[in-house]
């Protein structure tokens, strides 16, 4: 496993990839923070909600990383798409087949690749959260937010929790993306299905069928990343996400180990 992770990191940690990922993380962080802080309205925080729309929410101890948490929930779909493309092209391009000639353990190969990608994602998320915190601090006076609560132990705990839930949510999207890639072995097909499901189908159905917000995988992961929502608390979101991820990972690994590799 370690060899696969190291090899994948060799690929991912090239200068161009590092620069691109860093710029993407900073831009995402800046856009999310600017948007949320500058658009925050006066008013009380709404229990169970953490979408950063009120000054009171931002002024609380978790406010320093709230923009990051909300922003990640919006870009998680993009992460899902990236993971589908990354993994599916391994199959359609034949590189997975070529790597199997070096290491025939299919499960080790796919898990190692996923782990390496998540390590890079973890770094990018840390950078994004840190930058978002600094930018929030700089923007706070414009909304009469002191930001002193952000440096408390509770604020640190919220920051860590935001990072953890964001990473867990991204990992969930990564597993879903990898599963679609394994099932379809074609980037266009896997992307089409992923887009259709996590985009219009889940969102449209959830509009008319409220329980969808608590049961659809994409909605559940969204709630997890936001640290819980009015429809689904953090604990329940974490447990439900874990169940979905376990089901998807099992299906992917069973398919991967039983199917012939023909492309």
């Amino acid at each position: 496993m370690r060899r696969v992770v190291r090899a994948e990191l060799l690929r991912l940690l090239r200068r161009r990839t590092i620069v691109t990922t860093t710029i993407a993380a900073l831009v995402f962080s800046a856009v999310a923070t600017l948007t949320i802080v500058t658009s925050a309205k006066d008013g009380p925080s709404i229990p169970g909600r953490r979408d950063g729309t009120t000054v009171a929410e931002l002024a609380s101890h978790g406010g320093g990383t709230q923009s990051f948490a909300v922003g990640v929930s919006f870009v998680s779909f993009f992460v899902f798409v990236v993971f589908i493309a990354l993994m599916a092209t391994e199959f359609s391009g034949g590189t997975f087949r070529a790597l199997l000639l070096r290491d025939p353990h299919r499960m080790r190969l796919i898990v190692g690749k996923l782990a390496a990608s998540l390590l890079v994602a973890a770094g990018a998320l840390a950078l994004a959260e840190l930058f978002s915190f600094v930018l929030s601090l700089a923007l706070a006076p414009s909304k009469d937010i002191s930001g002193s609560a952000w440096f408390s132990m509770a604020g640190l705990g919220d920051g860590l929790r935001d990072y953890g839930t964001a990473l867990a949510g991204i990992a969930g999207w990564a597993v879903f993306g990898a599963t679609l890639a394994v099932v379809f072995r074609s980037a266009p097909l896997a992307l089409a299905v992923g887009f259709a499901w996590a985009g219009p189908i889940e969102n449209i159905v959830s509009q008319s069928w409220a329980p969808g917000l608590r049961f659809f995988p994409g909605q559940v992961l969204g709630s997890l990343i936001r640290g819980g929502s009015a429809d689904l608390g953090l604990g329940r979101a974490a447990v439900t996400s874990a169940v979905y991820v376990a089901i998807a990972a099992t299906a992917a690994l069973v398919l991967l180990t039983r199917r012939d590799v023909t492309s």
């Binding site: 090899a7 060799l10 690929r11 590189t95 070529a98 199997l100 000639l101 290491d103 025939p104």
Partner: protein, 342 residues
């Protein structure tokens, strides 16, 4: 005469074959891609794996490499059972189907990545790139490579870890004549120090020149396996006959035809056909004009040549060439395939 049981030369170079399969079968639904295939490739040979498109070459190689699960059959690669590819793949280098690398990485970066996954030393990468003729292009991105360069990088990747067995699937596919020649030379160079090379192709003339062992298959079944020299050696497909005066060519042809020979014209020569065993095809004649034929088969090329010479001499035709035409791998292969399908 076209089954492996009937035409097999026992391996003699080493006690343990580099690879051996028995009854190897792969079915996809109703379609049988590989049909009870028996193959044995001795250690240290350059073995050609020959068959038309769809014969089952790639599927067989994929089964040997653990990519495709056999429906039935068993076998060993480097002495290890094929259902445990992890036991032998680190000693095997392979290029199967087309080369597959990461387009955004350079040739050297791709090799470094594959070497890391396989646990092979990366220090050998510059030497490998030089060996396949990519010494000065190793730092260029893979996406900028020509098809020939991609194939050569595929060979370099297969050579990572100095494998005992190389399995190359159509390595010259899509290359121009110059590239094919370079690939042939490269494959010849790879077989050193007891390394075994199994190379598949449908370009029979290329394999004929580089392989000392052949495995011929068609529709998933084996037709022949053994030494190339034994398949081709000493067997003529015809006799080339050239009269001194071109004007005599038509008359000689008629005389030979009247004597029962099958005669074709190729370029400026008459070609008297022999069957696959080197005897005359069809009704043959002893050479005595007007005595009629003596039946089929059982007459060697030398005797046919003598008969042809006598016919020409009796008609006052002087021959400037009377020579056996060497059987090519293509001739033998096509005869076997056609025989097998009848």
């Amino acid at each position: 005469m076209t089954t492996t049981d009937q035409i097999t030369t026992a391996p003699s170079r080493a006690a343990t074959p580099a690879l051996s399969v028995r009854g190897l079968t792969k079915r996809y639904g109703q379609r049988t891609a590989v049909d009870h295939l028996d193959i044995e490739v001795p250690t240290g040979v350059v073995a050609g794996f020959v068959g038309p498109n769809g014969a089952g070459k790639t599927t067989t190689m994929a089964m040997l490499l653990g990519l495709v699960r056999p429906t039935d059959g068993s076998g060993t690669v480097l002495g290890e059972p094929i259902d445990h590819p992890d036991a032998y793949l680190h000693r095997v280098g392979a290029l199967i189907e087309s080369p597959a690398f990461y387009p955004a990485l350079t040739g050297a970066e791709n090799l470094r990545m594959f070497a890391t996954v396989g646990g092979h030393p990366t220090e050998q990468i510059p030497a490998l790139l030089a060996q396949v003729g990519l010494g000065d292009r190793g730092d260029d991105r893979y996406r900028s490579y020509s098809l020939g360069m991609k194939q050569r990088l595929g060979i370099a990747a297969a050579l990572l870890g100095d494998p005992e067995l190389l399995i190359l699937d159509e390595p010259a596919n899509g290359l121009d004549p110059q590239g094919v020649r370079e690939m042939r030379s490269l494959i010849g160079d790879l077989a050193h120090g007891g390394r075994t090379v199994l190379v598949s192709s449908h370009d029979l003339s290329e394999l004929e020149q580089v392989c000392d062992w052949l495995v011929l298959i068609d529709t998933g079944r084996s037709l022949y396996q053994g030494l190339t020299s034994e398949l081709l050696g000493g067997v003529a497909s015809g006799l080339a006959v050239v009269p001194e005066r071109p004007a005599d060519r038509w008359r000689l042809r008629e005389l030979l035809f009247a004597a029962g020979h099958h005669v074709d014209e190729r370029d400026d020569r008459l070609v008297v056909s022999l069957d696959a065993t080197g005897g005359a095809a069809g009704r043959v004649d002893t050479g005595e004009i007007g005595t009629g034929g003596i039946g089929t088969g059982g007459i060697g090329a030398a005797e046919i040549a003598a008969a042809v010479n006598r016919i020409a001499f009796a008609a006052g035709i002087v021959l400037v060439e009377l020579s056996p035409l060497r059987t090519t791998l293509e001739d033998r292969y096509l005869a076997m395939v056609q025989g097998g399908r009848r």
